[in-house]
Symmetry: C2
Subunit: 295 residues, 2 copies
Amino acid sequence: MRTVRTVAELREALGGAGSGSALSGGAPSGTVGFVPTMGALHEGHLSLLRAARAAHDTVVLSIFVNPTQFNEQSDFDRYARDEGRDARLAEEAGVDVLFAPEVSEIYPEGFCTSVSVGGRLTEVLEGAERGRGHFDGVATVVSKLLIAVRPDAAYFGEKDYQQLLVVRRLVADLGLPVRIVGCPTSREPDGLARSSRNVRLSAEARERAGTIPRVMAEIAERVRAGAEEIEPLRAAAAEALGRAGVEVEYLAFVDPDTLETVADLAAPTRLAVAARVDDVRLIDNRLLTPPDTKR
Amino acid sequence: MRTVRTVAELREALGGAGSGSALSGGAPSGTVGFVPTMGALHEGHLSLLRAARAAHDTVVLSIFVNPTQFNEQSDFDRYARDEGRDARLAEEAGVDVLFAPEVSEIYPEGFCTSVSVGGRLTEVLEGAERGRGHFDGVATVVSKLLIAVRPDAAYFGEKDYQQLLVVRRLVADLGLPVRIVGCPTSREPDGLARSSRNVRLSAEARERAGTIPRVMAEIAERVRAGAEEIEPLRAAAAEALGRAGVEVEYLAFVDPDTLETVADLAAPTRLAVAARVDDVRLIDNRLLTPPDTKR
């Protein structure tokens, strides 16, 4: 594995590999799969790396804690950073190139361009809670990384479901020549979605956090059994989460493509949750499928 | 010359040519030079095409009247369109691929991403007169075109000087692998900057429009002779333009790189003018160089 700090080194390391060459038919160094992360690698990231490793000749991992997508400075400051550990895990996972730039490489002096996905996709849920700037930060850095790495495919976890939709939208809108692959959320044995923020939970809070996936699983079960009314499900969930001391920011039933609020659960619906357990903010989501759903 | 309407056809026409391949060292079909235009080709565009033709194996011309960069619907509606004539001129100029997409190819249903260059570069001059949306429209469409064509170099006229700076900024900020080449403004025999809008001038208005470059040349001459004070130059210019019935929107003396207003003319300065002659809006600019300037 080669670790590079600049886009110039990255291009040099990748040589002719990547979308520019693959799309032209004659790929001198094969296809490139790319996993962009903020480090603090866990099993969720490793599952993305495995998917990339299985499909591509070259696997690139980026580790960049992007300051512009944090709405709270304290969250940015506390974000776990351990590049030595991450690099070992990456090497074990078969990463070929680790791109770990400094902030000044991504945002040099005088930087003033932003990529923004407008409309409902970025206004609701995380956009409403964290502010529009969050997704502008995500869209800008992902655009920059995709332009720098030029992968054939980039892998994102479904755990950040809204982010996945935003990335798909910007890639389609700008015409970036990359396939965006969404991978299933990796979960702890009790169902909690794996997240770099989980390590901040106390043992006691960690246990209570398990209520989130449990409540979501119950909702999914009732929808699979034919429940179509949202309000009874929401009330039961709020009650259970409140009892566990989980402070709900939103618990939303939305169209899986547009994130429009749905009126009932007759069609497949994405359940999205954001909640705080003590001072740790967690998000999760899952698809709700009514009986006899084709998809 | 091949005319293509979609990005897919464009990629097919270009095969392995372009920045992806050239940067990798093994360019199967050589380098690509790109001239993005809104059609209504005139000698100014042709000079860009000649520069591209001299430097590249493949020359791509795009013709796309971009609706999102017009601040007045009437200006968009009246913008001259004659693809047959443009195609003949392009072929004579040695263009290999003419990319002339429909609006729906560039902005399909649901499109909601924008690229925006912030800060002073887009706030002043044209940004102030036409609104911030103008440069967002320019930045977004230029990004899309550069991503679609993947040229090694793209050619822009210095006549739209602020636009040239905005494009340079976004290319640097996003890390798009393309060299931006600014080419000297092409001028009519009386000095009027060539523009697709010039044809809208009546014969009488066309004559009065010649006052703009004349006044600018006089200012340049006086600066070359050692004049450093701005206000006397501005007053004389305003007087001459007013006498010719040219309605000045701005006549600005700015730093050539940052567009900051300058206090005097001791260093090289960009003179930028926007004015209306009857109902036709014209812009122009030129460098003012004091005596003994190295650059």
